[in-house]
Each structure stands twice: as C-alpha cells, then as structure tokens.
Symmetry: C2
C-alpha cells in the first residue's frame, strides 16, 4: 500500500505529484498522478474532494496532467484531481504491445475474464477499489466520501460505466468524447472480444454505457462534450447518439450531450472545456 | 510568401492553425503555429493584435501550443498568438543535430556570422522581419502595428533581446525563466561561441539582455517569472539577478522579476502564469 513519490511539481498554486505503487489487482507497479490544489496545504482540517479523471487509449497519467488543464479549474474550486494510468504495464503477456487499441494503454476499465489477459488486466477493480484505497490511505486530507468521475474517449466510457454500475459511489459524472456504446463500435468489439471472449455478449453489455443507462433509475445529470470535428466520432467509434437515445427511451432525464462545432478528439478540446467539467463536478462535490 | 495550412484545430472558441512557409532567411521550410482568437471570426473590420511567443531549447511551435495555456487568456482578450519554431530544420550542416543546446532546436534568435552556421541560422532576421511579413500578408485581419513579445528560457532571452534591440517595435515584453545574461552562462557561451566565434565579444554583448538593458533609455515595464525550483536557474544558466542588477545600476525602472516558490522550468509553470503574461501584453496592446 505504500506510495512512491517520483516528482513533485508546482502547478496553479498546488502540487502535481507523480506517484507509483505496487498494485495487487493489476500485478505490477502502477504509475498515477495526483493534483493537490492549494487548499490542501492551507487548512489541515479541511477535507478535499476528488475528481477522478480516466484517460483514453495510448495515454498515461501524464498526458492530461500536461494538456488537459483540469488543474486550472480544480485549483480555484479546491478539488484534487486523480489521474490513473490506462492499463497494467510490463506484464509480458504475448501480444499486449502489438496494437495501440488493445493491451498496453488500452485496459478499457474492465476486469478481463479471458486468458491470458485475465492475469492482470483488471482495471475495473484497480480503479474502483485498489487505487482509491491506496490514495485515501496515503493522503488523509482527501475526502473519500466525495469523489466525482470524468474521462476522455476510452476514459469517458470508463467514467460512464463505473458511475452507472455503482450508484452512489461517485457524486457526479461527465465525459469528453466517450466511447458510449462499445458493443457496437470497432474499438469496443476488439477490446471486449479480447478481454471477455467473442461469445460473452451479456458480459459485454455489463460494461456498455448505452446498455447500462437503460436500467438507470431516476434522473442522471451527466455532461458530455463531443466535437463535431472528431474523426473518431465521425467514424462511429463514440456513438453518443445511441447513449442519448437509450436514455430517452428509458425515460432517464438529464443527459446533456453538447456537440461542439469543429472541435476534435485532442486535448485542445479538453483544455477548452475542462473548466466546465470541473464546475459540473464541483456542483455535486460541494452540494 | 505563401503559407501552407497543415491543420486547423478548434481551441478556446478560436482556431489554432498549424502552418509552414518556405523561408528565405533560414533557407528551409519553417513550421509555425498561429492562434486566432474567437474575435478574429466575429467582426471583419476589427483588427486583432498579436502576442509573439518564442520557445526554448529543443521545442517546436507545438510544445507551448499544447501545454502553455496561452490560448486561455488570449481567447478572452482577443489576442492572436504566434508560435514560431526555434531554428532552421534540415539544413544538413555537419554537427547541427549532435547537441540539444546547439544547432537544431537552438537557434538562439541571432543571425550567425561564423561558418558553417552563417548559412541559414538567421533566426533574428527570421523572427523580426520575414515571419511577421509573411504572417501579416497572409492574415490581413491581424494588426501589424500592435505586437507584443514573450518567451521561455532561450525564448525569454529572445523576447528580451529583440525588444531591447528594437525600441518601439513591440508594445510590451515579458518572459518566463529567460536566459538573461548569456555571455555569462554555459548555454550562451556555447551558442555564441558557435554562432559568432569565440573572440567576437562585442557581438555576443549585442545579444545579451543584461548588456542591452544598461543602454536602455526610459522606463521598462517587463514582467519576468522565474521558479525557485528551476534547476537551470539553480545552475546559473538564467541569471535574472544579473539583469535586475544591471537595470538598477543603469537607473532603468520597471523590471519586475517574480521568483515563484518551488516552480520549475517546465510548461506547468507557464500554464500557471500565462494568463498574467497575456494580461501584461493586453495592457499595452489595447492601450
């Protein structure tokens, strides 16, 4: 459970910590970043809520820390930002490094059930259980009862599915360009086929936001930004319209998908709108 | 003089353009980025002022475009940001790719006089003459009479020296962690020795901000941010204290060096304070 500090970087009045720990669920040393806002250093008795940001395919904890500018909004609101990695690293599973959209950097926030990936590709358990347990033990100034979740692309899929599968666990959810209906897109089919097996259709649906929202009870205040210039959106990898439609059919109110004119799939889009997503989380974290 | 558009990226309500052109002064195709704020697309009769940002060693136009967060402030103020490259590329001068602090990526914003670098390493002429001429011809909505300058590290040296050598050319100047006294630091001595020759002491001084500020007439409202956790500052590569001392001795008022506690030499520092530097430029661009 011990955490190694690899770097401490001043950022927007707070500190960005580059950390790692030996993870049991993923059977390897996992790197992650944690942004502590200035408020975390001001009043020791004030507990700091956490925004969990899940990254997309190929990313590490560093990409969004450098380019997403969540620290800008989080520093003003007094929110810590937790940036995990996107998969186990270095498990030496044959083939895990062959594709950019499967294996290393592409854990898809599920627990794999198919060999050989069932031996360590457990990002669902890692993100929902082991990482928070580790972080809240190492940083007692953080408030484990106030956590919101967001993410980009594969991480948007992660944010939506982790939220929908665990009612009450997260105070709020938002997403950038989420893979919203993985069972119906090439990325999701490749990932779920490889991690669960081709025939495990019910298992696939358990990790599909569009399937999960059909069963949601009550309102769902989710903020989603998708750029109309996003090539992956145009290629049908994201399918936010399926998510919207499913929510509507199920009578779930509060799904706000903003189609941002010309914006693409890059961090330039996230940088532009991250303040809005921090604001969305803050509404619930400080409710 | 024609400009090639390689990409158009939506960012903070405006557009970041990735561009290139065949440059005469540097004898090669030069890439640069230009951020057009939302105001550039709103009122065709409204001329947009420009903030010229000069990058540091090893960087291209992309680093600060992605990580510096200048678009955040510039989009609010209605300022275009011009991000040039840091040297000629691909001239095939023997040795130009051997070091990260000399040759490619390290043009130092001077015109080299020593062979073989005098054949193309003319970043001073490129930045002060050819690039603006090209940009203002290609983008008539930009206001060539309102340009401010800033930069980081080697680019901070560029910003200070270009401003001090050309009174009236730029409306304002600021810098992050500038190489403030290159004749007295290892980076500067290597660069000036290689580009001008070891014996050309007077030439060296013509491109040294600390030497130039001694001759400045009148006030000088310059904003400089240096992190106290900056390893290059601690190693004596930046020497902002020499610049401050020289200005004081010469009776030049208005030099504001902010020593930012714990901040390092990275883009995390720039992202934190870029809004302040945009604000500083805006005060003069909209005076």
């Amino acid at each position: 459970m011990s955490v190694t500090t690899k770097a401490t970087i001043a950022s927007f009045g707070g500190k960005l910590l580059k950390l790692s720990h030996a993870a049991t669920s993923t059977k390897c040393e996992m790197s992650f970043n944690l942004y502590l806002p200035p408020q975390a250093f001001q009043n020791p008795s004030q507990k700091i809520p956490v925004l969990l940001y899940l990254s997309g395919l190929t990313c590490t904890a560093d990409n969004c820390s450098e380019k997403g500018f969540f620290q800008h909004g989080a520093s003003k609101k007094g929110i810590a930002v937790l940036y995990p990695d996107t998969s186990p690293r270095g498990l030496n599973i044959p083939g895990e490094d062959e594709a950019w959209d499967f294996g290393t950097g592409a854990g898809f926030y599920i627990d794999a059930t198919k060999a050989p990936y069932n031996n360590g590709y457990n990002m669902y358990t890692y993100i929902t259980e082991e990482l928070p347990k580790t972080v809240f033990q190492a940083f007692p100034q953080l408030d484990s009862s106030r956590v919101s979740i967001t993410g980009h692309s594969m991480g948007g899929h992660g944010a939506l599915t982790l939220f929908l599968r665990n009612p009450g666990k997260y105070k709020s959810v938002s997403a950038f360009a989420p893979i919203s209906n993985p069972v119906n897109c090439a990325w999701g089919q490749k990932a779920f086929g490889g991690y669960f097996g081709e025939e495990q259709v019910e298992k696939w649906k358990e990790h599909d936001a569009t399937e999960l929202v059909r069963k949601w009870k009550g309102p769902l205040d989710v903020l989603i930004d998708v750029g109309t210039g996003d090539n992956f959106y145009k290629q049908g990898q994201l399918l936010p319209e399926n998510f919207e439609k499913a929510a509507k059919e199920a009578g779930v109110e509060g799904v706000r998908v903003r189609y941002q004119p010309d914006y693409d799939h890059s961090y330039y889009t996230m940088a532009t709108f991250s303040d809005d997503h921090v604001e969305h989380a803050a509404k619930y974290l400080f409710a």
